[in-house]
């Protein structure tokens, strides 16, 4: 199978990996592969197992079951210091007793590299992260953003096959975060390296990664490109975790040529659906995909404006549809055009509707 990450065998293959801490199951039978040159994100709420999975790739934890292959080699019993993997820690874990240059060169010394070669490579790495000339600084004299760059340079210095980034931007303030995000992408593209990032921030994952695995309670809920995850969530959890979404419960009334008619409190709606007739389904649609007062729209229902909140550039509408079902919609422009009580005809385009199977509670 040649997925979007094609180009030969994947760099990382995780096969049926499980890990428990005492009675707590952190990772449950996870399988996924990461292609060469990918910027892959493990996304999920805290405690979903994403950090444990990453720590197993680094070698800090050993899987209870399953295999981890990096570049075709089984790694689960290999200690961290013998893996072709480096990690950027969430706390950055910068050695406080060593200068910036010695931090960056730490791993190079362990490779047995000569002093001059280390110095050259350190200089090169500092240039890459725009810290040229800062080599002699003590870590405690660096700003948060500079510490992050030192950590990145140190992790990249050994040219790892796989770079692990544990919440790389979490410790930075918002403005710096956006800038650093772009720099991370830039560095990754320039080096052609494979990055695996762990994050709980869906916006960060969307903006940075080219593939995302959404995790929940130790399992992978969905793997896909950011647009797939966002537009075609596979489960209700993914739909709700990633961005804002409207969910409407219903039951499949009948299927015809791949299109299902689904009875909902809003009325009968048409959607693409793989579920059989009689199955309970949840329809999901993003607020910005609702069509307001569009004559050509499909699946049109009558609704009334309950509240309008101006968000700057757009307005978030809270709408009451048939059966007092609440919908959230984004409209361009200011709130002035949307007084409370105004009637509005809401279209739910078939292409934007996703039918999700009813989940286990």
């Amino acid at each position: 199978m040649s997925g979007p990450e094609g180009r030969g065998a994947p760099l990382v293959e995780i096969r049926n990996v499980s890990k428990s801490f005492g009675a707590v199951c952190a990772v449950a039978d996870v399988s996924l592969s990461i292609g060469r040159g990918a910027f892959f994100a493990l996304l999920g709420p805290s405690g979903c197992g994403k950090t444990t999975l990453m720590r197993m790739l680094a070698g800090f934890e050993r899987p209870d079951a399953g295999e981890i292959l990096i570049d075709g080699e089984e790694m689960s019993a290999t200690p961290p210091h013998r893996r072709p993997v480096n990690m950027m820690f969430q706390s950055y874990a910068i050695f406080p007793h060593l200068s910036v240059a010695r931090n960056v060169g730490f791993g190079l010394v362990e490779m047995g590299m000569g002093r001059d070669a280390v110095a050259t490579r350190v200089e090169e790495m500092l240039r890459l992260v725009q810290l040229s000339g800062m080599g002699e600084r003590r870590p405690d004299r660096l700003s948060g953003g500079q510490r992050q760059r030192v950590a990145l340079a140190r992790a990249l210095a050994r040219q790892p096959k796989l770079l692990l980034l544990d919440e790389p931007l979490a410790a930075l303030d918002r403005r710096l975060r956006e800038e650093t995000r772009l720099e991370l992408i830039d560095v990754q593209k320039r080096l052609g390296a494979t990055f695996l990032m762990v994050t709980h921030d869906q916006e960060e994952a969307m903006a940075t990664a080219d593939r995302i695995a959404v995790m929940r309670a130790g399992r992978v809920e969905q793997i896909g490109a950011p647009t797939e995850i966002y537009e075609r969530p596979a489960t209700r959890f993914v739909a709700e975790f990633v961005g804002d979404i409207n969910l409407v419960e219903g039951r499949v009334a009948g299927v015809e040529a791949g299109l299902a008619r689904i009875d909902t409190p809003l009325g009968a709606l048409t959607a693409q659906c793989a579920l059989p007739a009689g199955a309970r389904a949840t329809l999901a649609i993003r607020p910005e995909r609702l069509l307001l007062d569009d004559a050509a729209a499909q699946n049109v229902v009558a609704a009334r404006v309950v509240a309008a909140t101006y968000l700057g550039g757009r307005t978030l509408l809270r709408l009451a549809g048939p059966g007092e079902t609440m919908l959230r919609a984004l409209a361009p422009g200011a709130a002035a055009g949307w007084p409370a009580g105004r009637d509005v005809r809401v279209g739910l385009p078939v292409a934007a509707l996703t039918a999700l199977a009813q989940e286990r509670a």
């Binding site: 961290p80 706390s91 992790a155």
Partner: protein, 298 residues
């Protein structure tokens, strides 16, 4: 009384304590060290008598002498005693460090909820008398003692080892007695180390031993310094351990001082020995104080 007054008294208390229990005794010892031994009660002159008035006291100042210090310089016994103390204290401190480091490391790496119990065990010997514990070592070390019996029963040695009443026994006693003073600061330094630093070192290719050499050990150096000074400083002046475990040839300054004071009743000489010891230890004391200050700034 106002709150401010109370606060001023509270702030003054440590100062008063130090003046009464440290500065005054120190000045008395310093004064005795420049007096002359005499067959009297107390056994030295001059004595300052308030009844003689200011003029009388000033006249007696002329009787003060540095003879005791000159004796320390001239008599080899003192020099050898200081060097003996320095040697044994240095050896004992180094051994204590070697033994305490693995202890402290093991406690610092133990599960968090078990650490307080382990620290308690490390200081548990303090719950019994120091003197009794040193006495116990006599029973362990002497020729017909437990250790020799056990080694001979195991066939490891043919005849008993002569450890008791030697310098080696003194070192054993000092290492044993001061071990907790080394374990505690080492533990404090190791326990506060961020575990992710070790993971980072391993991640960057360092074996466990290299991680220890390049990260754990250098970051624990303040603890190594503090513990070494806490053992070295009292070991230099130690009297009880060399007296109970040492041999007749064990020269340590604490013992020499005791002899001057009690056997020779030469209070000025004994006082001068104490003052010189303090002067010798002053750099170490200042180093320790500096270390504590720097630790607090962090």
């Amino acid at each position: 009384m106002s709150g401010g007054g109370m606060r001023r008294i509270a702030a003054l208390a440590p100062t008063v304590w130090l003046v009464v229990f440290f500065l005054v005794p120190f000045l008395l010892v310093a004064k005795i060290s420049v007096s002359t031994a005499a067959l009297a009660q107390p056994p030295y002159t001059p004595l300052f008598d308030l009844s003689e008035g200011v003029a009388g006291a000033l006249a007696r100042l002329g009787e003060l002498t540095l003879a005791a210090y000159r004796a320390i310089l001239e008599d080899d016994l003192y020099l050898l005693s200081y060097l003996g103390s320095l040697r044994l204290a240095a050896i004992a401190t180094a051994l204590t460090l070697l033994i305490a480091y693995p202890f402290a490391l093991a406690i610092a790496r133990a599960p968090r909820n078990r650490r307080p119990a382990l620290v308690m065990l490390a200081v548990a010997p303090f719950w019994t008398s120091f003197l009794i514990r040193v006495y116990a070592w006599i029973l362990l070390l002497k020729e017909e003692g437990l250790i020799n019996h056990a080694l001979m029963a195991l066939g490891l040695i043919g005849e008993p080892l002569h450890v008791f009443a030697t310098d080696a026994a003194v070192v054993v006693g000092v290492v044993y007695s001061y071990l907790p003073f080394m374990v505690l600061p080492l533990y404090a330094a190791l326990e506060q180390q961020d575990a992710s630093l070790r993971e980072a070192a391993a991640d960057l290719g360092a074996t466990p031993w290299r991680t220890f050499r390049r990260v754990t050990l250098p970051l624990s150096l303040p603890g190594v310094m503090a513990g070494s000074l806490l053992v070295f400083i009292p070991a230099m002046g130690e009297f009880v351990i060399p007296d109970l475990l040492g041999g007749s040839e064990t020269l340590m300054i604490g013992r020499t001082l005791w002899n001057d004071f009690f056997s020779n009743r030469d209070w000025p000489a004994a006082s001068a020995v104490a003052i010189v010891l303090l002067a010798l230890l002053l750099p170490a004391l200042i180093a320790y104080e500096r270390l504590q200050l720097r630790g607090r700034e962090r």
